[in-house]
């Protein structure tokens, strides 16, 4: 264990524990219990919770990708929703059938899912020259433009995307087994009928675990160290032979691959793709996920994803049991309003009170903008923090 200040945020999540196989035994036991609970989830969860779990796991995959980009590599992106959308639409187009005036390629869903990752990754790589030229807030805002431009394309390319209302998504399947209510039409495990949600649960769980495993590997490996080096000082990184532009491009590409998979999973969980699922608020939600969890932390991103996707559902679902809530439409604080309040307060509170943890992880975002005169954490008496000038 490192002796980081206690202020740093530690949100233990199943994924963190599961993926940290080298933790000491109580943690391993807890991880095993959580993993078992997750594996057994479809046996004891209702459809509502299965559905919420699917959205949360899809979000976790996307959040891990974003935390690699923003938290590890220090590149602020407000464009994550765009790459999610690219993945979702790619999967839908490739796996979908040609019908109702919609284009479709009818490819095997596995191939379509891999292609969704690849196409989103390619989109990220294509954006990376821009990312290489811009830094900090400039980069964030350029990527914000991406979200609006993407939305425009999705609204207008109606024969591919279905326009505003989107199109239905082909169920996921491997040869001989479909992750839907068909093929086999009836499947029961330990007496519980396994329908679409139950089957998808295992697909999502596997993908999310793989995403966390790979995320950890990337972060801890040569590529992750290079990203962190770029985040903590581009000049110093270059001085040990790290190609800064290439590392940024890699980070964007990796993050977009994650986003592509997450987008496809979201589409599968949702059963539809529509432009609203990839709006600016989605980008912001993803940023909030990684900030709440602690930027740069794989486990934190997963925990943040679960919190952000499940909280509003939970409050709406159980609003009737919360005595202080008023009925929707009556003008008091209803469940939806409360969940917005909780969400906002969570963001503000984490940033103000959990300084060391979250802000600490974000502090190297690398946003050193036009205010170059502002000293940035000199590690030492800043004898010469100001630029030296020579007499003309």
């Amino acid at each position: 264990m490192s002796d980081r200040p206690a202020a740093s945020l530690r949100l233990d999540s199943p994924l963190r524990l599961i993926s940290s196989l080298r933790l000491d035994s109580p943690a391993r036991a807890a991880g095993a219990v959580l993993l078992l609970a997750a594996v057994a989830g479809p046996l004891w969860l209702t459809d509502f919770w299965l559905q919420a779990g699917l959205f949360a796991m899809a979000a976790a995959v996307g959040a891990i990708g974003l935390t690699l980009l923003v938290g590890v590599a220090g590149q602020l992106s407000l464009g994550h929703a765009f790459f999610l959308g690219v993945g979702a639409y790619t999967y839908t187009l490739l796996a979908g059938e040609r019908e109702d005036g919609m284009s479709g390629f009818g490819l095997p869903p596995v191939a379509a899912l891999l292609a969704a990752a690849a196409v989103a990754g390619a989109a990220g790589a294509a954006f990376s020259p821009i990312a290489g030229r811009l830094r900090g807030i400039y980069l964030g805002l350029a990527s914000l433009g991406l979200v609006f431009l993407g939305r425009h394309v999705w609204l207008n390319a109606e024969d591919v995307t279905g326009g505003y209302n989107g199109r239905t998504v082909e169920a996921f399947a491997v040869p001989g087994f479909s992750f839907s209510d068909e093929d086999p039409d009836y499947l029961a495990v330990l007496g519980t009928p396994f329908g679409e949600l139950h089957r998808l649960w295992y697909l999502f769980l596997a993908v999310a675990l793989l995403a966390a495993y790979c995320g950890r590997g990337i972060k801890a490996g040569r590529a992750g160290r290079a990203m962190a080096g770029v985040r903590d000082g581009e000049t110093a990184a270059a001085s040990v032979g790290i190609r800064v532009a290439r590392v940024k491009a890699t980070a964007f590409t990796v993050s977009s691959v994650y986003a592509g998979v997450a987008g496809a999973l979201t589409a599968l969980a949702f059963g539809r793709v529509a432009p609203d699922s990839f709006a600016l608020t989605v980008s912001i939600d993803y940023l909030v996920m990684i900030v709440l969890g602690g930027a740069g932390s794989i486990a934190g991103a997963s925990a943040g994803a679960v919190f952000v996707s499940v909280l509003p559902l939970m409050l709406v679902q159980y609003s009737a049991h919360l005595p202080f809530l008023s009925a929707p439409g009556s003008g008091g604080v209803d469940a939806a309003t409360l969940s917005r309040f909780v969400y906002g307060v969570a963001i503000v509170a984490v940033l103000i009170f959990l300084r060391g943890g979250l802000a600490g992880a974000l502090r190297h975002l690398g946003i050193r903008t036009a205010r170059a005169g502002r000293p940035s954490r000199p590690a030492r008496p800043a004898e010469r923090s100001t630029p030296k000038e020579s007499a003309p």
Partner: protein, 542 residues
């Protein structure tokens, strides 16, 4: 805080009491680094006090503590008191300290470049009563006729000397009782330095006390009544200016002459190792190639930072680059490392031309460097920082790391082992698992050196490797560098201020001043060079 009925009465100072009384001041940065330890210092009413010391000695920290601007640099006063006229001003915000009567002229002038000269001056006088301002402005214009002439021009267009005048004038606009001057002679030509000295005397004559920080010891001692010498956060010497000016110690400190008498040159008997500063032993074959710097010129905007600089580093030697602040040493090392572009000239390493290559390509040719302000991943462990240095020697990509492929794991193991050997060489083994932000300053410096060594360079560029270290640490670092050179057979370029350190270590020295090369030769030759003496001590010293 009122401790009793008598305290208010006691706050009225005795007539002979000092204007500024700093007592036992401790300052830390980011909770970890201690920058000042028990510093005590007095400035008399109408006195001029100089604080001398090398880079990293804590001079600017002292001023920041007095002027209340430590916070924005991440520092905090952890002990001691600062009294102005008996009133405790420690911990007051900067704006209140100005109102209490202390004005600081920051290092590097820091004029508001986009504001006009007059607006700069008005900004300085915002705390003064409106009716006194025009008189103050008039006074400044009389003191600096140049400024009066250019009052409508943007401050960014002034020359360096005029900007320094403006910065001083701006500081005086609030009619302070005490003026803090941070290296006013930095980067100015000798005649301007002399002029600044006159101005300080003139200001003092009008009744303002001055606390002056200087690296230019001669200038500092000439204008001051008394002086303090800071060294690694402590007061190493103090006394009347004339006494200090006559001491060999000051001369030794700045030119490395008579190293035996200079405290900082004592290698600290407790470290158990004899610093080997002799010629390279037969330990390792020389792997380095010759570095040829030829006619390099660098410009920033209209300012020429390096003008036609040439020198050569013989393979396998330690070469030092010295010169006063602002001479262009760091610019030079940044050119070699690929961070800055040249306007003219070439740098060749062996048969490769470095100018025009990106920094990472230069690193790929076996050139590694450290930074003047340490640049490490603070949240990462020492081991990870060292491994970052091995980036160019490793091959595994994103996919290998993501999937944990056996080859990537094996590579990781192998390189971790290599990094551990470097850690052993630098005495960092015990710290490998610690994250960098928990380390002391000296350890961080060593980690940065380790990261550079992990890249297995044949040419190592060290930008002030011992700035801010105490003599023992400094000597240890010298020993390490010598050992590195001997064991690895590489060339080393040192940029340093610590003269004894450089003189004991380098085989050859290049001296820069105002971006030009003014001397080049063995340490002994350079020490005798009259140009060098003039550059360091001012024209009178030669």
């Amino acid at each position: 805080m009122r401790t009793g009925s008598g305290s208010a009465w006691e706050a009225v100072p005795a007539p002979g009491a000092p204007l500024l009384d700093v007592d036992g001041l401790d300052v830390g940065y980011n909770g970890a680094v201690r920058a000042l330890r028990g510093v005590s210092l007095q400035v008399a009413r109408r006195g001029v006090v100089a604080v001398l010391g090398g880079n990293g000695a804590g001079k600017t920290t002292l001023l920041r503590a007095i002027s209340g601007t430590l916070g924005s640099a991440g520092g905090a006063v952890t002990g001691g008191t600062i009294r102005l006229d008996g009133r405790d001003v420690r911990g007051l915000p900067a704006a209140e300290i100005v109102r209490a009567g202390i004005a600081q002229v920051p290092e590097g002038r820091r004029v508001f470049r986009d504001l006009t000269v007059e607006e700069n001056l008005r900004a300085g006088g915002l705390t003064a009563a409106p009716r006194t301002r025009s008189a103050a402005l008039q006074g400044i214009y009389e003191l600096f006729p140049d400024l009066a002439e250019r009052r409508r021009e943007r401050a960014g267009l002034l020359s360096g000397g005029q900007q320094q005048m403006l910065a001083i004038g701006r500081g005086l606009m609030s009619r302070p009782r005490l003026l803090l001057l941070d290296e006013p002679s930095l980067g100015l030509a000798p005649q301007l330095v002399a002029r600044i000295g006159e101005i300080v005397t003139e200001i003092n004559r009008h009744g303002t006390a001055v606390l002056l920080i200087e690296q230019n010891a001669v200038m500092g001692l000439r204008v001051a009544d008394s002086a303090y010498v800071l060294e690694v956060g402590r007061v190493a010497a103090s006394g009347p200016a004339e006494v200090l000016a006559g001491s060999d110690e000051i001369r030794g400190r700045y030119l490395g002459a008579g190293a035996g008498t200079a405290s900082s040159a004592d290698p600290g008997p407790d470290d158990g190792r004899e610093p080997d500063t002799g010629p390279p032993g037969p330990a390792a074959a020389v792997r380095a190639e010759a570095l040829k710097v030829d006619g390099v010129t660098v410009r920033f905007g209209g300012v020429t930072a390096l003008a036609d600089v040439s020198f050569e580093i013989e393979p396998g030697t330690v070469h030092a680059l010295i010169g006063p602040n602002g001479a262009g040493k760091s610019t030079c090392i940044n050119v070699l490392g690929g961070a800055y572009r040249v306007a003219a000239g070439t740098v060749r390493y062996g048969d490769r031309t470095l100018t025009g290559l990106r920094a990472d390509q230069i690193a790929g040719l076996g050139v590694a460097r450290t930074f003047q302000n340490i640049s490490l991943s603070l949240d990462a462990t020492v081991a990870d920082n060292l491994l970052t240095g091995r980036h160019r020697l490793m091959r595994s990509g994103v996919l290998g790391g993501a999937l944990g492929l056996p080859r990537a794991r094996r590579e990781d193991r192998e390189h971790r082992a290599r990094a551990e050997r470097v850690a052993e060489l630098l005495g960092l083994t015990a710290l490998l698992g610690r994250s960098v932000h928990t380390l002391s300053y000296g350890d961080r410096k060593r980690v940065e050196l380790g990261r550079a060594l992990c890249a297995e360079p044949t040419l190592l560029l060290l930008d002030e490797p011992v700035a801010g270290m105490n003599p023992a640490e400094s000597a240890e670092m010298a020993a390490t560098i010598a050992e590195v050179r001997r064991e690895l057979g590489i060339s080393i370029l040192l940029v340093e201020h610590d003269m004894p350190f450089v003189m004991g270590l380098a085989e050859r020295v290049t001296v820069l001043d105002f971006g030009r090369r003014i001397a080049d030769g063995t340490p002994a030759e350079v020490q005798r060079d009259p140009e060098v003496l003039r550059a360091y001590l001012g024209s009178e010293a030669a």
